[in-house]
């Protein structure tokens, strides 16, 4: 690709210029005159992070397969690049054709985490576009957004023209194809608004009660839906999945072949948004997975293959699949990585074989330190599970154990925190028993993240811990975990508060995001750029308080801003789960019986419709019930 002199000059002065050149193997460059709609697909973080998201590759592939559509990419330029672009008056461009984003028909953002929201405004601004939808011109591109955070679109409702909620691979293509059928933006939004999964914020006016809670959503367009039903892909096995992923030139966070094995999760952890919003479980067949994996490796030349799902071992054909993949990867000199395995004897056999003498750390996510609290959050793992797995691991030669917990969970007491230390201590003792008092180079890492209540989960009403409380808990844990061979990590507290504000925000939170961005906030997910003082100032100026959005317990009577989106699971189910949590009652995995979330009223759910179709999991995970 020939490059213009202005850009060339800039590229000579920035770090990692290959972030901005495109041209990677398998990227798709189309002649703009031969397509009917052009989309600029934006990831609101740096290239290395964005290129590691499989979802982006999935949509890029679906869209570019369609001869009528050109999908081009843009990422958030790093601050050094941004500065030079602004200095030289250069607008944000797509990597495929160096076309200014402003010339695209549709510009889409993927919403993966709240702390990337300021980058969205910044990218719009760098593209020469107004950030507020009302101030943009008829000729400006239509701005869309999708991804997990679109399940609460309200904090971005003032900036985005249209949200796509739910599975995107069919919906986004439909939406783009409608573009040519509409002669104005209004007509376009009206047409798209008829599709399941499309939320057009300008179709609704939100009024608030005096206490700041939502009073009502008033429809400004008569045929706008009362609630926007999320889009659901019925058959994952038949859905398009990339077999020729873009291969970045530079080191991305993950740069490997990836196949999504299933979507959804049957476990029903009460804190987990993904486990709720991606119901029901939909699998790709083993043979489809193997086929895609082999094609990807052939077309990319990757040296590593990984599988993507919420819980790798839960695939109904997992053991056969893992065994076959191991054979295929070995024959091709490809490393296989299997994340989030349930650690039973089969997994150990697999891990031992694929990791060989280079064993990476073994990861456990008990999430909470006592059985009582694990029952509250419905995390079905017992200490016996962990200890017997640790024993096997140590005997097989693993030397690093990583443990993940959350603090600030509903119903948590200091005893639960002590439980975290007890688990670490017990694991250390197991190692002493096996390896002797010196214990070898054995290390335990305990990572604790601050609980952020998320929309559409049973904990969506829960108050978040205040920073003082988090700090006290971290101090307590630090004391308790002062043990030889144990490392303790925890999350930045101020970021967690902000995440909670935005995650459960309403439209008023939009002005906070805009204010913070105007004050200079961006790359808030990066510790080195995040500026909590600016956010605090922006909160003061906009009147958005943590008290209201983060620390407050919501009542069942309250209209929650994100309920404009219908996740297709019943609110009553969420309430029931929240009540059961208060009594530390567990709800079994869907594979042991339908928990009645309501999903099967809308789409076919394996476990909810035909019980017993899949082998019921009688493993010891549920033994404590």
């Amino acid at each position: 690709m020939k490059i213009d002199k202005k850009l060339d000059k800039i590229l000579k002065r920035v770090e990692k210029p290959a972030r901005y050149i495109g041209g990677e193997v398998n990227s798709v460059v189309k002649d703009p005159t031969e397509v009917s709609v052009r989309m600029g697909f934006c990831f609101p973080d740096t290239y290395e992070i964005g290129m590691s998201y499989t979802g982006m590759q999935v949509l890029y592939n679906v869209l570019n397969k369609n001869p009528q559509i050109a999908c081009e990419r843009a990422f958030a330029p790093a601050p050094d690049m941004e500065e030079l672009m602004r200095q030289e008056g250069m607008e944000l461009f797509t990597l495929e054709t160096f076309t200014p984003l402003r010339q695209m028909d549709v510009v889409g953002f993927t919403l993966q985490y709240e702390m990337s929201f300021t980058n969205i405004l910044n990218m719009l601004d760098l593209a020469g576009l107004e950030v507020r939808r009302e101030e943009r011109e008829e000729t400006d591109p239509v701005i869309v957004a999708g991804g997990p955070c679109a399940f609460n679109p309200e904090p971005l409702a003032d900036f985005i023209d249209m949200f796509l909620v739910g599975d995107g691979e069919e919906l986004l293509e439909q939406v783009l194809l409608l573009k040519q059928e509409a002669s104005s933006k209004a007509e376009y939004l009206a047409k798209c608004g008829k599709l399941d999964g499309v939320y057009v914020p300008s179709f609704y006016d939100v009024s608030y009660n005096e206490d700041g809670t939502v009073r009502a959503y008033e429809k400004l367009v008569p045929d706008a839906p009362d609630r926007v039903r999320r889009a659901v892909l019925q058959d994952l096995d038949k859905a398009e999945f990339p077999t020729a992923n873009i291969v970045p030139f530079i080191d991305a966070v993950h740069d490997r072949s990836v196949v999504e094995t299933f979507r959804g999760c049957t476990r029903g952890c009460r804190f987990c948004q993904a486990g709720m919003i991606y119901r029901p479980v939909r699998e790709r067949k083993k043979d489809t997975i193997l086929d895609i994996a082999m094609k990807q490796l052939k077309n990319t030349g990757h040296e590593e293959l990984s599988l993507l799902s919420l819980s790798t071992s839960d695939h109904s054909e997992f053991e056969d699949m893992a065994t076959e993949l191991m054979g295929l990867c070995k024959a091709q000199n490809v490393a296989l990585s299997l994340p989030s395995l349930r650690l039973d004897s089969f997994s150990f056999k697999v891990l031992d074989e694929i990791q060989g003498y280079r064993k990476s750390g073994l990861t456990f996510a008990p999430e909470a330190g006592t059985q009582r609290l694990r029952d509250i959050i419905n995390k079905n793992i017992t200490e016996d599970d962990i200890y017997s797995a640790v024993e096997q691991a140590i005997e097989l030669g693993w030397e690093t154990i990583k443990l993940y917990f959350m603090d600030g969970l509903p119903g948590e007491t200091f005893e639960d925190l002590d439980g975290i230390a007890d688990i670490a201590k017990k694991i250390r003792d197991i190692n002493y028993d096996i390896r002797g008092r010196k214990g070898g180079r054995f290390r335990i890492t305990v990572s604790v993240s601050n609980f952020v209540p998320k929309p559409h989960t049973p904990f969506q009403w829960a108050p978040q811990d205040r920073p003082e409380s988090f700090i006290k808990k971290h101090d307590h844990l630090r004391e308790k975990l002062r043990m030889k061979g144990v490392t303790f990590n925890y999350h930045e507290t101020k970021t967690s508060t902000l995440e909670a504000i935005i995650a459960r925000g309403d439209r008023k939170v939009g002005s906070l995001i805009e204010k913070a961005w105007r004050m200079g906030c961006k790359f808030d997910a990066w510790t080195e750029y995040h500026a909590p003082e600016l956010w605090e100032k922006a909160m003061e100026e906009t009147g958005v308080t943590a008290e209201f959005y983060a620390y407050r317990e919501r009542s069942y009577e309250e209209i929650l801003p994100w309920e404009i989106i219908d996740p297709l699971i019943d609110r009553r189910f969420l309430e029931r789960e929240n009540e059961k949590a208060k009594q530390a009652m567990v709800t079994p995995d869907c594979r042991q019986g339908c928990a009645g979330c309501g999903m099967n009223k809308h789409v076919k759910c394996f476990y909810g419709v035909e019980e017993g179709r899949f082998p019921v999991n009688t493993g010891k995970e549920a033994a404590h019930e």
């Binding site: 690709m1 490059i3 030139f249 990319t300 091709q332």
Partner: protein
């Protein structure tokens, strides 16, 4: 087991990829093309593949070389074709030839390289030949160079490593052609010639406007033999 050398060029935006990026890119291209590479023995086996000389990020190149070893024996033309179709834009593979098994590595045979730098003058007059003459007539050409290990700056005299410089002005641009030591025994970065020469000649064009290209790598023996 067979050894091959491929000559290629690197032009356009892909010049913003680093030496390591290009290395990884080639490794993957071999995989895509279905060409197995031989691996070294030992705990950390790595594919037997290497470049004559690393190319700095931002430089284009006309004549680069990569050598590799495969367990199979295939016709060079066939290898070239299989690889060609899977290369990203900007990397053009020119020829492939079999190499003698017992020969030294390309990098140990590299002794010098020719670089071309295009420097916009922005209307400034420049007596090229005169400037080059007096630049080279200095007793020593001293500049600061980053030490590999300590990362400290150290004074070096680069003059003994400069073999030849010629220049011409056309279209308000100064084109310098520089021949210098490169390789494992003596190695000079063209950046050091550029910066010292531009200071010497009073050319204040910003470095970001200068385009550099490696035109040729010189070897102690013919790389295609």
């Amino acid at each position: 087991m067979s050894k091959y050398v491929i000559e290629f060029s690197k032009t356009g935006t892909i010049c913003y990829t680093s030496h390591l990026d290009v290395m990884r890119m080639f490794k993957r291209a071999f995989k895509r093309a279905g060409i197995a590479l031989s691996y070294s023995q030992g705990f950390n086996p790595h594919p037997k593949m290497g470049f004559a000389q690393p190319l700095s990020l931002g430089y284009e190149a006309e004549e680069e070389f990569i050598e590799f070893e495969t367990p199979d024996d295939r016709e060079p033309a066939e290898l070239l074709e299989a690889l060609r179709i899977t290369m990203p834009e900007g990397i053009d593979l020119k020829k492939c030839e079999r190499q003698r098994k017992e020969r030294k590595t390309l990098s140990s045979m590299t002794c010098a390289a020719i670089y071309e730098a295009v420097i916009p003058l922005h209307g400034k007059k420049c007596d090229v030949d005169g400037q080059i003459g007096s630049y080279l007539a200095q007793d020593r050409i001293v500049t600061l160079k980053k030490q590999k290990k300590k990362k400290e700056l150290k004074e070096v005299d680069i003059k003994p490593m400069i073999r030849q410089i010629t220049g011409a002005v056309a279209d308000d641009e100064l084109v310098l052609e520089m021949l210098m030591d490169q390789g494992s025994t003596s190695n000079l970065s063209p950046e050091l010639i550029l910066s010292t020469f531009m200071t010497f000649a009073g050319i204040d064009t910003d470095r970001s406007e200068v385009r550099v290209k490696r035109k040729k790598i010189l070897f102690t023996e013919d790389p295609f033999q």
